[in-house]
């Protein structure tokens, strides 16, 4: 066969143009599908943002004591404004950590194979990678702006449009600046060093906040609220901040553009793989899978594993997964944050804060439990290897999940009984049982559907219908948690006469999974 020969003076090639042309050549029906897909996604994002803003506003209202009067606690001395200001400053730091984890500049596997390997000008590909990094940074950081805007709406009698726009603009510019700096760090191979520095910075913020609380308890905290009134609630402060950020963005624009061209292809490829894993995992609400790296099993871990060997094999598998994938970290972190807010922030020591904090805590607990149980429940082949049937797995899962859920809900009820007024001990006990059952039912339902296998389908989903089905499917485990927790949340809020429908819905939510415990083993 003849050896392929290069042409003497062939024109340059722009793969973007080739891809555009291929898209244009699609049939009308496919074009309409693409249009309707985009339209549906925009609608979905719009609804999601509206709900998120509503939830955020309600959450802030709870923290500000708008819905329930706070109890005076000697430890709850911090004003909410400065605490949220710290949160708003921490968000860009978290976005920076996320960007450094993601790459941030990356090429997909297909781009790496078919585009990056061509002997052509790659500026288009590099520019697209940089643009995507900036989008991720801007979208992540806009959360800080939205939080600030919600705070403005909650705190100020009449938040000005200028303040809102400047706050959002400053947040977006912060995200772009962070992305530029992260790309420069990536080109210099400094991402791991910077991530470690970011972790230290976040711990410093936590320690500084605790120090601020100590000063407030001692009564020597400077007049932070006065400072916020004069500066942080003023539109002109944010305009000045946005201008400074704009200058910094412009200053780093060129260096980032040059840096992205110097990133080695293998680094771009590896970042592309990480972004694929993260987007698939987040798409099915499985953040644990997005950020966990496979640990080496040496030293203390191996010894711990040996100690665990005394347990039955199913429990060993579950505990090993919880330990190695650090599944307990998100619910524990949420629980600690909720306790800190309740006990340290002046207006937040009220039952509504406890209720709106407990709900996401239970959802996180369900997600973690589902991740632990998922391989055993979703894979019949794995169960056959372990000579176990579905009922045995559900029972082993109950052994893990129910104590954790009972602990969380009992603690919440205990805090409510200690700080606030619980209308009825019996109702609280029944609420605790139903909420724990709801977490168990949600975890079993979610794990049984094999959401991790589903993430692959989500990535390959050709149409919005398949994408929506994947997202909807992965959300299904949340409903039993909401239904099961509803009576307990009502009791925590001091409701005396709960409608029977709430109890019925709660019982129905966890009834199916509890029945699975009683199924006859094969």
């Amino acid at each position: 066969m003849r050896h392929p020969q290069p042409a003497a003076n062939a024109p340059g090639l722009d793969p973007r143009a080739v891809l555009r042309q291929a898209r244009r050549a699609r049939s009308r029906a496919e074009k309409f599908d693409a249009f309707s897909d985009t339209y549906m996604w925009i609608l979905l994002v719009g609804f999601a943002l509206a709900y998120a803003f509503g939830f955020l506003r309600a959450w802030l209202g709870a923290l500000l004591g708008e819905f329930a009067a706070p109890v005076p606690l000697p430890s709850a001395v911090l004003p909410l404004g400065p605490v949220l200001l710290v949160a708003v400053l921490v968000i860009p730091a978290l976005v920076a950590r996320l960007l450094l984890h993601l790459g941030p500049a990356a090429v997909s596997a297909a781009q790496a194979v078919w585009w990056l390997s061509l002997p052509i000008d790659l500026r288009g590909l590099h520019a697209a990678a940089l643009r995507r990094a900036r989008w991720i940074g801007a979208l992540g950081s806009v959360a800080a702006g939205v939080l600030w805007f919600a705070l403005c709406c909650a705190v100020l009698p009449a938040p000005t449009l200028v303040l809102a726009a400047a706050a959002l603009g400053a947040a977006v510019l912060t995200g772009v600046l962070v992305a530029n700096l992260a790309v420069i760090a990536q080109a210099r191979g400094a991402t791991n060093r910077l991530r470690r520095a970011g972790t230290m910075l976040l711990w410093s913020v936590v320690l500084a906040s605790l120090a601020g609380w100590g000063l407030a308890v001692a009564g020597i905290l400077p007049d932070v609220e006065g400072w916020m009134r004069d500066w942080a609630w003023q539109g002109r402060s944010f305009l000045a901040l946005a201008l400074v950020l704009l200058v910094l963005v412009l200053l780093t624009h060129g260096p980032a553009g040059r840096a992205v061209r110097g990133i080695p292809p293998r680094v771009l490829r590896a970042a592309g793989q990480r972004q694929q894993v993260v987007s698939a995992a987040l798409g099915v609400m499985n953040p644990g899978a997005a950020f966990v790296q496979a640990p080496a099993i040496r030293g203390p871990r191996a010894r711990r594993q040996k100690r665990g060997a005394r347990l039955p094999v199913l429990q060993q598998v579950l505990l090993t997964r919880v330990w190695r994938r650090r599944l307990a970290v998100p619910p524990l972190g949420m629980g600690l944050a909720l306790a800190a807010v309740l006990l340290l922030v002046r207006s937040a020591a009220n039952p509504m804060t406890l209720a709106v904090g407990l709900l996401p805590l239970l959802v996180l607990l369900m997600l973690a439990a589902a991740s632990a149980v998922e391989p055993l429940l979703a894979s019949a082949a794995l169960r056959r290897m372990l000579a176990a049937d579905r009922t045995q797995v559900v029972r082993a899962a109950a052994w893990l999940i129910l104590p954790a859920a009972l602990l969380a809900t009992c603690l919440a009820a205990g805090v409510a009984a200690w700080l606030f007024v619980l209308p009825s001990g019996t109702a609280a006990l029944a609420g605790v049982l139903l909420a724990s059952g709801g977490v168990f039912a949600g975890a079993v339902q979610r794990a049984g559907r094999g959401h991790q296998d589903f993430s692959g389908q989500l990535l390959a989903a050709g149409t919005s219908t398949e994408g929506f089905a994947a997202v909807g499917y992965s959300l299904s485990g949340v409903l039993p948690v909401l239904a099961g927790a509803a009576p307990l949340l009502s009791v925590l809020l001091g409701t005396t006469d709960l409608p029977w429908v709430l109890w019925a819905v709660g019982a129905l939510a966890c009834g199916g999974a509890l029945a699975a415990l009683r199924e006859k083993a094969a």
Partner: protein
Amino acid sequence: MSETTPTIGIQGLVAGYGVQALCAPLDLQLHPGQGVGIIGVNGSGKSTVLRAIFDLQAPLEGNVRFGDEPMNAAALDYRRKLALLVEDAAFLDELSVAEHLDLVARGHQVRDPEQAVARELDFFGLQPVAAHLPHELSSGQRRKLMLAAALIRPADYLVLDEPEQRLDPQSKARLAERLRDRREQGAGLVLVSHDAGFIGQCTARVLLLDQGQWRELTSAQAVNWLAR
């Protein structure tokens, strides 16, 4: 072949992950027209070594030169002169089989790209699916498309990780014959394979990676080792 075909020089290369080395230091010179096959059991580190040689992964130690320059996947010479099939199959969703090959042919400025595409489609039996999108292909057809992309373009070296995978015996024999032809025409050949017969048809020089140690074998010794 291009007028200046660089030599690949590997000195003390150690590949692995984290701090864990998978092989003893490798020293190897590869000249145009030469071939080398790498064999070893699953998980011995063959593909990792291949990735480290061709700058798809950072080596733990040692260096690799492509002519007078360090091996650099971003360099124009690298992209022009090395045809690699080392990554997992991945495709551009928008492009059909023929359009994928056309992109590569035009990107590498192949003379008469339409004819080159038709030739590869014919060689790999992909003509009936030429207008199909990647998700409509079987795994064997996907493999053939990746191979066709590596062979449609001019290259001084062909670097292929288990190219015989998922091919039927007839396609495998034709591919081996074609790779041998390319080597005889002056292209260097680096192969990783578990198929001693396939390697033997393509090249006489075989490196065995056995428990982290390198051994040079003849084709006959390689056949015996793989058949044991």
